[in-house]
Amino acid sequence: MDRSLFRITRSGWAGLALAAFAIVILPSISSRFWLSVFTSAGCFTIAIAGVAFMYARLGMVSLTQVGLMGVGGWVALRLNYAFDFPFEVNMALAALTTMVFGWILALPALRMRGLYLALVTLMAAGGLEIIFATFQFPNGGDGFWGVQTGSGEAFRRPWIAQSPEAYLRYVIACAVLGFLLIELHRRLQPGRAWALIRRSEAAAMAAGVNVTLYKTWAFGIAGLLGGGAGALLAGSLGLLDDGTFRASESVLVFALAVVGGARYWQGAVVAALLYKVLPPLLNNWGVDADLAYIIFGAGLLHAVITAPDGIAGQIMGAVKGLSRRKERADA
């Protein structure tokens, strides 16, 4: 496999083309309603990319990704009301804090594997849900928790992204950076270590790979992406509510990452579109948006039974098949 750092694959070109379309065209043709929907989808794309990458590269099931988004959102809100930092600083600090949180969560969890690891992360998500419900999200109040009755001043968005259109572009640009961060890791030393760990932890250890370090690293990256996504979501809405970060949402997000296809960047996009765009689309068509959950369930069954690489894997398989046919026809 060519691991040249700056080589752009066909899939990469497709991603950049999609990002260019999403940044240049999508905001211009979307109504305010769809801008809001796509912005949410963009935030969750980043978070889903984190959880999908952990599953695809290491086979680790994390059921706490939406909880990590909540941690990032909480930190971003608290910093916004406590200091006059620009949005980018708040977001970076929120992402780094969540990364550290991810590490702390990972250290005891890494003794577990498979189902037990999933259960530990699910319990962490449950704990975060209770903390968010009990202490709520900062809204401009005093003290550590920063909660007051009534709303505080509006949340400060990036100075280059004040309008909904510009904010959607900003979120998409952040999502691209998130994917590039994952790809960068995949092509460097951590990617090789993760590939070895995924095949066999014993073999990886025998080869001198620090399994604990690289697994913790992966949790940290997932936390970084989740925290950044939470900060972006806070910037989109101006406030956060504990109802958004329930443990059940983390389970759903992981399931959708599998349905979308955890091995491919397209899978995270498909999962976020299913999660955030499908329900309002059904609603617009006059169909009960709860039907989306039935579709998610059917999609998960389909992925588990016949399409382990998810929808993105099927799309990539179809594209490869067409390419081969074309090559044969040309020959």
Partner: protein, 417 residues
Amino acid sequence: MRYGKTLGVATALVTLTMAGQAMAEASCGMNTGEAATGDPIIVGGIYGDAAPGDWSSSTDSAAAYFACVNANGGINGRPIDYRVENDQWNPESAAQAAALLVNDTPTVAMVGNGSFIEMAVNANTYEEAGIMVMASACAISECFETPNIVSTNQGPLPSNLGAAQYAVEELGATHTACIGLNIPNNGIWSCGAVNDFMESRGLQGTSVLINPGAPDVNSALLEAMASGADTILINQPAGIALAILSAAEEQDLRDQFIWIAPTPLYDLSVPEAVGDYWDGHVYVNAELAPLNLEGPDAQNWVAVLDEYGNDDDPRDTFGQAGYLSARFFVDAMLEMDPAQLDDRAAVSDAIRGISGYTSDLMCGPYYVGDADFHMPNHAGYMVQITGGSFEIVRECYEYDSPYFEPHRALEAELGLN
């Protein structure tokens, strides 16, 4: 014999009157009896329907009233196109609902909104868009403390204060435990106001907060008992309130406390739901006229729902509030220059200009005014669950709290008191 004849005639007259009331035709807007056929005027509404509660009765009643108005000449011949969205108790959905109804659609106003979430998310959107929201089932502080939202219902703060005031003055309460939702702008805000009220009377108040996502009513009851309170104020949506009463019944706590609640428990299905155990032991504040009163608007609301609503549209206080918001909105629109009915700014000015509207459903006048806060409704009734129904135990009374001082000053400015 003559006496018997007179009695018979009187009985017949009363029966005919009652039958007339029961069969009363709905009266709406211009009341022409002819359907409006002009270009529609678009009006929006947002409600919250998801766990832990359904807050759609206000938009249901508003929709029924607008349907009635459309069948009776509309607004100078133009029908109202009423579009509603569900915020699903979710901030993202709430923001998307407002983006759709306020930013993407030329709505002239929002009417009948009922939610725990959307006003906090969308208050700035409404202000930036210059649109007025005539809400009806408000439960959070932004509904009453922002410039572009005004509600016909009182919200938890006044309704709780009214219940606590009654308990202190009539039932001898000395220490209330307010079981509220752990939402800063709802439970913490409204229970805090009750605690302040109790302290202002030299008494004691305690807040007990529960998670709306996973309400543990037994823990809440235990915490309330441990506080040493003699009065339990159930500051909850009806579903959770019933669960608390059920848990208290299992522990046979009825006679150890005075039980009071704000308006959400004022629903005609509640007396039957709580059963005989609670008969005569639960006192509920009603933000609007109790449902057994038969003033003109009270009757008209029922007639409108019967004729233009759905059978399952709730007949509760928030339904009354939705009807009232819609009625006041239509009255204000009918007073406007017909050429300006599509102008959001002109409609917003007309709504801000509302002053001194009255209804038998409200204890005081309804007004809006140009202010950063709006709470026109701060007087109500107290009712008691008894005999499988509700009985009025205190007629219209003003709530006694320093919180209302700026509101009373505004009313004085508008010449309303």
